[in-house]
């Protein structure tokens, strides 16, 4: 499975680009290069609710058959963007195309999209068959075909034979499967899912995550998925659009956004990376030596020569930090503030001086360091990302 993922996503990775480049690249340069028009394309979308601007200058091209996730904190405009594709909110600037066709004046019921809601939204007075058949009925599909397609869709979501049940007789997970069947049975051009898993309990969520991804692959449908759960985003997506306050922070594959966050926001939102502020004390083409505000000095890989004296932030993932006497080039001496034992790994909060605490998440080997113990944490020169004083990644 991971192989397949990388295989699918290797194409839209011409350069490990920063936010602005990724947006521009995906909006303007991508079609053609990807072979065919994008399934959905946003160009400079603005969306306002009255005076409040919910989305600013949003551009994105989504390749046919791909699984794209909009990820961001609550209120950042994910739902708004999804609803704009459906035609449930009006855009105040820019244009949206579905399958190469501008949809500004196309009413929702002619857009041919599948919608899955957080709250399932199955018609309570119709049984499962009538719910799933609804979209087919309005497309004048012959009766016999409707029967067959509904049956196939129910088999796909692994609820065959449930035609006669009412939504109220199904569990939350089952209802969401029916909602999924209803949204894909008429083969829409895009499938839009707005936090479809967040109303389910943890076990069910895990299961549905795999299932949705599987069905998306089998059908080859283009899917746009909204979530504020980074695990969901990382595990399901071909590409992730990280959003903040109505604007795009970064677009990239799960590995790209996780390994090379374009901004401080992305680094923090995805996996709570450690951010170590400092200034460049010496630099050449490949490396920079940074004096941290915490007092230590580290030497890190740098994509270009930096000016000495420049303010930078060194971003290190907790998983990249080695704890104890490991042989890494950058070593920070500190004291354990707290230890969380997770079975296969442990999370340490380590005070490295200068009121800076860093978090390390390491596999357990040998003895676990306890609170108050002196400890070394370390990382290699390439295990981090450098941000400039504006919080953008230095490329």
């Amino acid at each position: 499975m991971p192989d397949k993922l990388t295989d699918q996503t290797s194409k839209p990775r011409p350069s490990p680009a920063g936010a602005s480049q990724a947006v521009a690249g995906s909006a303007a340069a991508r079609p053609g290069a990807e072979g065919g028009t994008p399934a959905v394309e946003f160009r400079d979308i603005d969306i306002a609710y009255g005076k409040f601007v919910a989305v600013r200058d949003f551009s994105l091209a989504i390749r046919r058959g791909s699984f794209v996730t909009l990820l961001g904190p609550s209120g950042c405009g994910k739902t708004t963007i999804l609803r704009s594709i459906a035609g449930l909110v009006d855009i105040s600037g820019g244009q949206i195309s579905i399958g190469g066709r501008r949809v500004d004046d196309v009413p929702i019921y002619k857009r041919n999209i599948g919608l899955v809601f957080q709250s399932y939204a199955l018609f309570p007075h119709k049984n499962v068959f009538d719910n799933v058949a609804f979209g087919l009925k309005y497309r004048n599909v012959p009766k016999a075909d409707i029967q067959r397609k509904v049956r196939q869709a129910l088999e796909m979501v692994r609820l065959p034979g449930s035609e006669k049940k009412l939504p109220s007789q199904l569990s939350g997970g089952q209802q969401q499967r029916i909602a999924l069947a209803r949204a894909i049975v008429f083969e829409p051009e895009v499938l839009l899912l707005d936090e479809p898993l967040s109303a389910l309990d943890a076990n069910m969520r895990e299961e549905m995550r795999v299932e949705i991804k599987k069905i998306q692959k089998e059908t080859g449908i283009t899917a746009i998925f909204v979530t504020h759960d980074q695990e969901e985003a990382l595990s399901m997506s071909d590409r992730i659009v990280v959003m903040n306050a109505g604007a795009v922070e970064q677009i990239g594959t799960p590995e790209e956004v996780y390994e090379t966050p374009a901004t401080a926001f992305v680094a923090d939102f995805l996996g709570k990376a450690n951010m170590l502020a400092g200034t460049v004390s010496a630099a050449d083409q490949q490396t920079a030596t940074v004096s941290l505000a915490a007092g230590q000095t580290v030497t890190v890989a740098s994509p270009r020569a930096l000016a000495p004296g420049a303010a930078v932030t060194v971003v290190v993932r907790p998983q990249k930090l080695a704890v104890g006497p490991a042989a890494t080039s950058n070593r920070l001496a500190g004291r354990v503030v707290s230890t969380s034992y997770l079975g296969s790994s442990a999370i340490y909060e380590v005070d490295i001086g200068g009121r800076t605490t860093i978090r390390a998440n390491t596999p357990i080997s040998g003895k676990i360091a306890r609170e108050g113990e002196a400890i070394d944490v370390g990382f290699g020169p390439a295990d981090c990302v450098l941000l400039d004083e504006n919080g953008s990644r230095i490329a």
Binding site: A86, L88, P107, I108, Y109, K110, R111, N112, I113, G114, L115, F117, S119, A121, L122, F123, P124, H125, N127, F134, G135, Y138, R139, K164, K165, L166, Q169, R182, A183, F186
Partner: protein, 280 residues
Amino acid sequence: MSAAARGNREGRWAWRLTGFVTLCVYIFLFAPIIATVVLSFNASMFGGFPMTGFSLQWYGKLLGNEQVLAAFRTSMWIALVTAVITTAVGVVTAYTLIRFEFRGKQMLNTLVILPALVPETILGVGLLVAIKAVDQPRTSLLLVLGHILLAVPYVVLIAQARMVGIRRVYEEAALSLGASRLASFREITLPLLVPAVVAGALLAFTISFDNTSASLFWRPAGVETMPTQILSMLKISISPEINALGTVMILVTVGIPLIGGLLLQGLTRLRRRGNPEEKT
């Protein structure tokens, strides 16, 4: 004897007193109704107690009374037309008020509810004055329009209450699946509104069928509704016939909502039964 036991005894007396007062209130409420119904079967010539024997003669007399039959027919068709139009108007108004944002929404909301707040007599005179001002005669149409005016607020309130509970996502889902706005209203919103539609229609019917004071102002010359007919009969004498007529009124105004409610229940049960896999 403990304090708890004493408290218990006091509590019991308090409950008895409450029960007694409640009983009195109900007797006061229902005694006239029961008296009317019972006396309508009285054989006596006089419309009061004591009973002298059981008889259906007053009902027979009613059936032979052309005036009463005409009033009954008038009330029936006016109430039916009022119920149908009021329900349609009320449901659409409630839908509009809940689902759409537009200028003057607050004003429309107030205007629609207003007839329920203004005293009926004032409304009665007001509509008459308005009609006179544009030099129109009093017609049955005016009477129907007046009844609609009186009943609309209640239907709107009932439908609004139900409408609030129908989540927007249902309609959005229907739209996304390819149903036009009208189709999604017809297939999704309206079926979910059915309880409100039925309740609204029944209420509108009874409001119209029962109405006395406003009808007195609005009815065209020579036309009587059931309540105004009873009033004009009372002016002449308290005949036992009036008791029979009153019983018929009670039967209609209580019976119709009852039948409607049972019908609705039956419908729901029928739909459930068409659904054999239901677990209990």
